[in-house]
Amino acid sequence: MGKVLEVKDLVTTFRIDKKEYEVLRGVSFDLNENETLCMVGESGCGKSVTTLSVMGLLPNNGRIVSGSIKLNGQELTTMSPKELNTLRGKQMGMIFQEPMTALNPLLTIGRQMTESLMLHKGMSKKEATETAISYLEKVGIANPEERLKQYPFQLSGGLRQRIMIAMVMSVQPSLLIADEPTTALDVTIQKQVLVLLNKLKKDVSTGVLFITHDLSVVAEIADRVIVLYSGRKVEEGTIEQIFAKPQHPYTVGLMNAVPNVDLDEFDIQPIPGTFPNITEDIGGCRFHPRCPYATERCRKEVPAELETEPGHFVYCHKVEEEQSK
C-alpha cells in the first residue's frame, strides 16, 4: 500500500490583530491508499485548518510556518499557487459540509460535472457526459440524464451531497478530503452517504481524510483515527484500538459525552471547562486545565509521543507513567 499523503510537523499560524497565533502546533500523520483516516476533535481544534493547509486554501491571514506536506511524494508546501491549482481537483478532491455553497447555483449539474472532467482528464464533451452519467449511477441517483439538466436548487440536500461526491470521485483523485460531509444531513440521509462513501472508496482506490466531530460517525467509516486537541495530536490508532482502549483522558471524555442510543442507563458526563481559544497561552499539555488527572508535570512539559501498541500513539504523561511502572 502506497502512502498518499504524508504530513510532518505541520505548523500553521493565523495573524489576528498583528500577532501570529499557532493554530496547528506540529501535526504529523500519514494516509495510505484505500484507507479512511478520521480526524476527530471539537470545533477550533484545527481539523479544518489541517485540510485547508493540505489543499493550499488557507485564508489570507493564515500561513504554513514549518513542516512538510507530501502528496504522492510531491512536496506541497513549496509549490507555487499555479502548480497547486493543477493538482486540486485532479489529485486531491474535497467535499464540504454544505453542498449548496459548494455548487454553483447558476450552472446545471451537467455543466459543473463535465467541466472538471474535461479540464483534468482532457475528455471530449461527449465522453465527459458519459462518465458523469456513470458516476451519478454509482452514487445511486435515478434518471442521471435528467439530473444533469437540473440546477442545484431543484435537488434536496442529500442529492446535492451525492452529486458533490460523484463530481469529486469522477476525476479519480488519489486523495479525497471530506470536511464534515454529513453534519448538515438528517440521520437517514447521513447513513446513505456513509454507505456510499465506503463503497466508492474501494472502487476508485482513494485515500480518504474524513473530518468529523461525531465519534459515532467515526465508528461507521474509519480505518484509523486521529484525535486532535487545540492544534496538537493527542492520540492516534486504528479504529479498534481507539474504541476498545482509548488512552488519552480527552478521548475517554469525548466517548463518555456521546449520548449512546444503545444504552438504557446513561449519565450525561460532560468534560468540565471550556475549549481553549487559540489566543490563550497554555503551557505543557494543552488539555491540562480540563484534565482530571493533571499534575505539575502536565503544566510544564509537552508530553512526548508514546507507542502503547504497534500503531497506537498517545501523548500523555499519565499514560506514560503508568506504562513505565
Binding site: 440521520v187 459515532s216 449520548p259 460532560p270
Partner: protein
C-alpha cells in the same frame, strides 16, 4: 407518565398550512393532537421538513394555527380572563337560539320530504314513461331535501358544540341567562384578581429594589403576602361561582333543542368539550404577551439569537426592560444572578457575544429564557450545533434547571441519542403527521412504526464491527409537503407498505397504555 400529574398543554387537531399560491399549501402540520404534562421533558424527533420546528412555533403562537387549538393549562380562567372568553359568554344565548332555529328548520324540511315520499309511493304503483320521469325528478328533490335537513341538523349541533366549550352541557339549560350571570360574576372576580396580580408585581419590584439596596423592607413583604391571600380568595370565588352554576343547573331543566339533547351520553360529550385551559390561538396580542412570561424559546444557533453589538448583560436585561418596571440597579443585579445560575461568571455581564464560545453563548440564551417566571420552554435544536462535550454540559444544565424551577421542556431535535437520555416522552413526526408517541424507554424497546425503526437503524453507533443492518435503511428523500402522498404519508419509503397504506390514512391507535402509533400494521388487529 403518572395520572396525578397536571396537564400543562394540550393540542387538539392542530393544523398549520403555509400558503404558497392560490390553492397550493405547504401542509406543515396535519391534525396533531397530544398533551404535555407539567414538569415533563417532551421530545420531538423527525427528519428536517417534518414540521417539528413549525410545531414548536405554533405552540408559542409565533405562527398562527390554521385550525385546531392549543390549550394552555399553566393558568386557568380563574386566574386570567382573556377577552375572547367574555365574548363567548355573551354569545351563549345566540348559540342556543341558532341551534334551535336550525333544528326547527330541519324539521320543517323533514315534513316536506315526507310529502314528497308519499307522492313517490303513489306514483310507483303504476308506471308509464312520463311517470317514470316524474318519479326520477321527485327522487332528486327528495335527496336534496334530505341533504339539507342533515346539514341543518349538523349546524345545530355545531352551534351547541361551540357553546359547550365555555359552559359544557349547561348550554342546554333552559335558564341560560342565569348561568350566564353566574359566569359573568366569576369573570368579574377574575378581573379583580388579575389587577391584584399586577399590584403584587409592583410590590415585588419595590421589595427587590429595597433588597438590592441593602435593607429589605419587611413591610412590603407582609403586604405581598396579604395580596397573595387576596388573589387566592378571588380565584376561589370565581371558582365557586362556576361551581354554583354547575351544581344548580347541570343535568336539570334541559331544553330539548335537538332530539339528542335528552340523551345523557350526548350531555357527557358536551361536558367533554368544556375547556378549563386557555386557548392560545384566541388571545389578543397583549394577552399573549402576558403569557410569554411563562412560555419561552431557545434557538439552535446561539450566535444568531444574540445581538453582536450588545453586551451579554444588556441582552439579558432587555427581558426585564420590556416586561417589568425594575430599576436599572435591580435589573443589573438580577442579570448577574442569572449569569451565575447558568454557569457563567458575573464578569460576563460586560463581554460581547464574539468573545464567548458556542456553549457559553447558549448559556446566555438559556439565561434569557428563564429570566421571568418561565414554566414552559421550546428548545428548537438547542444543542445540535454544539460539540459533544459542550452538548453534554448544556444538557446537564437544562436538567438541573428543570428540577429546580419545575420547567417543562418541548425539546425538538433530530438526534435520537439525545432524546433517549434527556426526554421522558417522545413524539416521532413525519411530514407533519404524528407517527408514534411513547415514553422514551418504551419507544426504544418496543419500536412499532416502521419509520421509527428505520430512524433508529440509521443512527451511527459507537460500537464497532456490528452487523450493519440494511433492512431499515431508507431509500430516497422526504416527499414534498406541498403534495404529500395519499394514504399513509410514509408509504413511499416504507419497507412494509401494503395496499391499504396507499389509499387510507392510518388511524392513531393506542397499542399499549401511553404508546400511540399511526400505522396500518397495527390497526388491523
Amino acid at each position: 407518565m403518572s395520572e396525578d400529574k397536571k396537564t400543562l398543554l394540550e393540542l387538539k387537531k392542530l393544523k398549520k398550512y403555509f400558503p404558497v399560491r392560490r390553492g397550493v399549501y405547504i401542509k406543515a402540520i396535519e391534525d396533531v393532537s397530544f398533551s404535555i404534562t407539567e414538569g415533563e421533558k417532551f421530545g420531538v424527533v423527525g427528519e428536517s421538513g417534518c414540521g417539528k420546528s413549525t410545531l414548536g412555533r405554533v405552540i408559542l403562537q409565533l405562527y398562527p394555527q390554521t385550525s385546531g387549538a392549543c390549550i394552555y393549562y399553566g393558568r386557568t380562567f380563574d386566574e386570567m380572563c382573556p377577552k375572547y372568553f367574555a365574548k363567548e359568554i355573551a354569545k351563549l344565548p345566540q348559540y342556543q337560539k341558532k341551534a334551535d332555529e336550525y333544528f326547527k328548520k330541519s324539521l320543517e324540511i323533514d315534513k316536506k320530504a315526507d310529502v314528497v315520499r308519499i307522492e313517490i309511493d303513489a306514483l310507483s304503483a303504476r308506471g308509464s314513461d312520463k311517470e317514470v320521469k316524474k318519479e326520477a325528478q321527485l327522487a332528486k328533490k327528495l335527496s336534496t331535501l334530505e341533504f339539507r335537513s342533515k346539514e341543518l341538523k349538523k349546524d345545530a349541533s355545531r352551534q351547541l358544540r361551540e357553546g359547550s366549550r365555555t359552559v359544557g352541557s349547561l348550554i342546554l339549560c333552559k335558564d341560560l341567562p342565569a348561568v350566564q350571570e353566574l359566569f359573568s360574576k366569576a369573570q368579574k372576580e377574575t378581573v379583580i384578581s388579575s389587577e391584584k396580580i399586577h399590584k403584587y408585581r409592583d410590590l415585588e419590584r419595590h421589595y427587590e429594589e429595597s433588597r438590592v439596596a441593602g435593607n429589605p423592607d419587611e413591610n412590603i413583604k407582609k403586604e405581598m403576602e396579604d395580596i397573595t391571600v387576596q388573589i387566592k380568595e378571588h380565584v376561589a370565588a370565581a371558582k365557586a361561582f362556576r361551581q354554583e352554576a354547575w351544581d344548580t343547573y347541570h343535568g336539570k331543566d334541559i331544553l330539548p333543542i335537538t332530539e339528542r339533547c335528552l340523551d345523557p351520553e350526548y350531555q357527557k360529550k358536551l361536558d367533554g368539550n368544556y375547556e378549563t385551559g386557555i386557548n392560545l390561538g384566541k388571545l389578543t396580542k397583549p394577552e399573549m404577551r402576558e403569557l410569554r412570561r411563562e412560555m419561552q424559546m431557545i434557538f439552535q444557533d446561539p450566535a444568531a439569537s444574540l445581538d453582536p453589538r450588545q453586551s451579554v448583560g444588556k441582552s439579558i436585561e432587555e427581558v426585564y426592560k420590556i416586561n417589568t418596571d425594575y430599576s436599572a440597579q435591580l435589573r443589573k443585579e438580577k442579570t448577574m444572578d442569572l449569569l451565575e445560575k447558568v454557569g457563567l461568571k458575573r464578569e460576563h455581564y460586560y463581554s460581547y457575544p464574539h468573545a464567548l464560545s458556542g456553549g457559553q453563548k447558549q448559556r446566555v440564551g438559556i439565561a434569557r429564557a428563564i429570566a421571568l417566571d418561565t414554566k414552559f420552554i421550546v428548545l428548537d435544536e438547542s444543542v445540535s450545533a454544539l460539540d459533544v462535550s459542550v452538548q453534554a454540559q448544556i444538557l446537564q444544565l437544562l436538567n438541573e434547571l428543570s428540577d429546580e424551577k419545575e420547567l417543562t421542556y418541548f425539546f425538538i431535535t433530530h438526534d435520537l441519542g439525545v432524546v433517549k437520555h434527556f426526554c421522558d416522552r417522545i413524539l416521532v413526526m413525519y411530514l407533519g403527521n404524528l407517527c408514534e408517541i411513547a415514553d422514551s424507554k418504551v419507544l426504544f424497546h418496543n419500536t412499532l412504526h416502521p419509520y421509527t425503526q428505520s430512524l433508529l437503524a440509521s443512527v451511527p453507533r459507537l460500537t464497532l464491527n456490528q452487523e450493519h443492518s440494511t433492512e431499515f435503511v431508507l431509500e430516497g428523500d422526504v416527499p414534498s409537503a406541498m403534495n404529500p402522498p395519499k394514504g399513509c404519508p410514509f408509504h413511499t419509503r416504507c419497507s412494509k407498505c401494503m395496499d391499504i397504506c396507499k389509499k387510507e390514512k392510518p388511524p392513531i391507535i393506542e397499542k399499549e397504555p401511553g404508546h400511540f402509533v399511526a400505522c396500518h400494521l397495527y390497526s388491523q388487529e
